[in-house]
Amino acid sequence: MSDCCTTPVFTPPPPRHTASEALRTVALIGPPNSGKSTLFNRLTGLRQKVANYPGVTVEQRMGRMAGIDRDDLVLIDLPGIYSLDPFSEDARVSINVLNGKMPGTPKPDAVLLVLDSLHLTRQLMLAAPVLALGLPTIVLLNMTDLMEARGGVVDPLRLAQELGAPVALVSATKGTGLESVRIFLNRHRGPGSDYADEAPFMLPVLGNALSTHTWAAQVSLKTGYRAPLSAENSRKVDAVLLHRFWGPLLFLVVVFGVFEVVFSIGQPLSDGLGDLLAKFGAWSTGFLPDGWLRSLVLDGAWKGVTSVLVFLPQILLLFLFIGVLEDSGYLARAALIADRVMRTIGLNGKAFIPLLSAYACAVPAIMATRTIENRRDRMATILVTPFMTCSARLPVYMLLIAAFIPNTYFLGGVIGLRTIVMLSLYVLGFWAAMTTAWLLKSSILKSSDAPFILELPQYRMPTIRSLGIRLVDRGRVFLKQAGTVILCVTLALWALAHIPPHGGKMPELTESVIGRLGHFIEPAIAPLGFNWKIGIGLLTSVLAREVMVGTMGTLYGADPETQTQTLQTALHHDLPLGGAVALMVFFAFAMQCTSTMAVVRRETNSWKWPALQFAYMLVLAYGAAFVTNWVVTALWG
């Protein structure tokens, strides 16, 4: 590794003529999981999502190459491809961009071809069709630090001669070797200025996998490539994690552990944060005159927004866990284990990856379905993804569980009742997703079994940097949501709770506009055990689920009877147990997220699917909440 910082760059003879047109766009292309997005982040200084499984990037992303002081150049990050024959939706995106057929994305003038040096022979198969495009190309051999550490050898100069393109050794994670990219780009002033005419020599017949492979094998042989020893550690880990008995057991232990941690560490943090925010609110509004303004700021906005904000610790803990799963490479193994279950419902294990990442958020998960090759399978996965318990449901569940479920422990303090209830809600969502997928796959989306082909990446230790970036980004999204959507909703609610004036004074809450609206819809939700305030909460939560908690904070804060109580206490006295459990079940099933509906509309190219999804999930949520309320009231009411 001593020579990690000297970057051998083979540079063929200088261009014979220079085009006047300047270089503008550069594309990053390479096989799946070869580290393109990590490199993209290095070159642009942006924070594109990266993780350790094939198919993380599913659409083209553009950024200015600020990381190497070339702000004038636009870099396009593309989904990974094995060849230029599209096999799935994400690969089609890459191929269209490369050919300049993607609306809104300029045709690239130069190409950075990223190849994972650990598996060079196979990765070279992509070099042939990419070089044949005739665009100025530099080949970046990524992960060379790992390759050398494991005893691999490659001669970049020979490789450059064989390919007729410059070759550089880089490590995207460490950020070494990137100056070669700058040298390459400075040398190329415009399209068609270079090898386009003396294009790739000795390239194989394109479109034939076998001849391409033979060519790639010859090239790697000639360049003295010695593949590094395969990572024995990964196999040893897999021998345990894919073990017939230990594998599934460990999976369950990890899942239980996570929820236990979310409660035992997250809850006190969240309570502490809540106290702090409440004190700060009371202190800072002490300057305001006692009247409608203080009421608006403290009881309206502050209580509403902070009732959601306090759940930040739990959400970050959950994201940390999902980040570790994604970055370590375990996600692909989970898909493998789940394949058996997934096939009984007519899908394959690949559909499990988006479903698992939907525990964080359904929007990126629905995008991630692009890696599913079969169109109908993909459609079914998109339609069931919103059933998975996303992190926006967490505040609602946490609030209701803390208010209604006693904090008792079983098995000598190992498993808490609250953990069990929380897990049941997760299982319920998963079960609904599976059943719905099965219904879809055995009716309107019936298709023959698509083959299951999944590349398992080697395990990697998640880096603090990458996990930190995820948490910061997520925290920012959460705070932004609280500062915009939730703040607006709570302000509007406070206003509606205080008009129309009654004899020159503020009206009773039940006489206000919001009170009347709530009482108007109450008959529709009364069978579920909900009161009118919950009804208003359900209406506002159509925007996003966590708005529910903000609405509750504002409404109970505006009500003189509950003003002094914490939201938990207020809810506990105002809602029967049946209604509380029914409310959790309602949230498990209902589609309350405008962002998800928008992304489903985009990915399916029609309003028909999100409309169907919304209606189906609403009916299911209503029915299940009705039954739950009835059963819980009969048993414990």
Binding site: L210, R244, L336, P451, I453, L456
Partner: protein
């Protein structure tokens, strides 16, 4: 002649041919499943299917029905380098 799904965990074979629809076949070949490649069965999923195979230094999981359509032969010198070279090597 055996098929890939016949391999026991830990056993290796030499790939002979793929009898799959062209799209799938091409995709698999780009992933390294080409004739004369050495393929080893590494792990089975806890449910017994799919199986993880190593080919060309990477690990790929396939279901039994896909692996059944991939013909392999026993690991011999002849299978690895072809009949014309086998004698010279041995």
């Amino acid at each position: 002649m055996r098929v890939l799904s016949d391999l026991q965990v830990g056993e290796c074979g030499i790939l002979v041919a793929l009898d799959l629809p062209p799209g799938v076949q091409n995709h698999l070949m780009y992933m390294g499943f080409v004739p004369h490649a050495q393929v080893c069965a590494l792990h089975r999923a806890p449910a017994g299917d799919p199986t993880v195979y190593s080919v060309d230094g990477i690990e790929i999981a396939l279901r039994r029905e896909t692996a059944q359509a991939i013909r392999v032969e026993d690991l011999t010198v002849e299978a690895l380098v072809g009949p014309e070279w086998a004698e010279a090597v041995s």
